[in-house]
Amino acid sequence: MKSTPLIRWIYRIFDTLFFGQITIYCLALCLPLIVGVAHWYEARTGGNAGHKTTRSGGLRTALTFPVAGHLSRPHTLPDHPRKDTLSVNPPVDIKLAENNVAPYLLTFTIGSWQDFRTIPAALIILGYLRLLLYIGSLLWANYLLRNMFRALTYEIYFSHPIWKRCQTVGWIITGYFFAYNLIMNLSHAAAWRYLAAKGFHEDWQQPFLWPDNWMWLWAGLTLLVFAQAFRFGTQLQQEKDLTI
């Protein structure tokens, strides 16, 4: 039996995704180094070194945290020029969220190392934990799916590694759903604490964030069911192979 073009095509997709992801992450790891060198060069050539220069047109990234509930209005603090602006240096805003998980997003714009250092440690840890969870889960799941489809292109349909990989991917995706929502809820609590420390008061604070990524749970559970089907198929295949 020859593997279908569809399986070969899916394998190529996962193969490209896997190596593409690795390339993007390697480039992303190099980015802070490039920014650091750019800052150093600006400082040496007499430009306005530090975050002021960076903020006016340099590379910037942002850490965002959901804030669900209702903030007391007006959102403007006495010494801040913009509505919803918590701080100018570093720039921290409360923005209206586009999705339905939370009405607000607490956004820290990071343009320099000084900006980064002013963010509370708990928020940094939660923000980057979320990112690492996403990168790690996606990379691991892609790797396993790539290997699974490679085995399928070799016409190995029912074998122990295939159903095991399928099961592991199922658990990764299901685990991602739960871990992501746990981190989001912890971030939500930390964001409210940060806002309270900055003098913002809520009319009403939502006790927890309801997940909006149910698709991950369904995908994970479906893969777990598929894994059981592959496991049964593997048992049948073994029976067939050992029938003389």
């Binding site: 073994q238 029976e239 050992l242 029938t243 003389i244």
Partner: protein, 68 residues
């Protein structure tokens, strides 16, 4: 498994080698080896028939039930 396949006993009685039996029965050496080592989960009637014919014996001579 309490079912024991006595192919090797019958082969020794008939003074037949594994290669010779494999050629006569038309099954691979690997599958005959699975039968001899007791790893087989099932045996087809047609294989049993071919073995009985090649070894000139009855199915009862090839299969034995042993209590565990």
């Amino acid at each position: 498994m309490p079912i024991v396949v006595n192919v090797d006993v019958m082969m020794a009685r008939r003074k037949m080698s594994l290669t010779e039996l494999s050629e006569k029965v038309g099954i691979t050496m690997a599958n005959l080896s699975i039968l001899k080592t007791g790893k087989a989960r099932a045996i087809r009637f047609e294989t049993l028939e071919a073995l009985c014919e090649a070894l000139d014996c009855q199915p009862g001579d090839l299969l034995e039930y042993q209590r565990e």
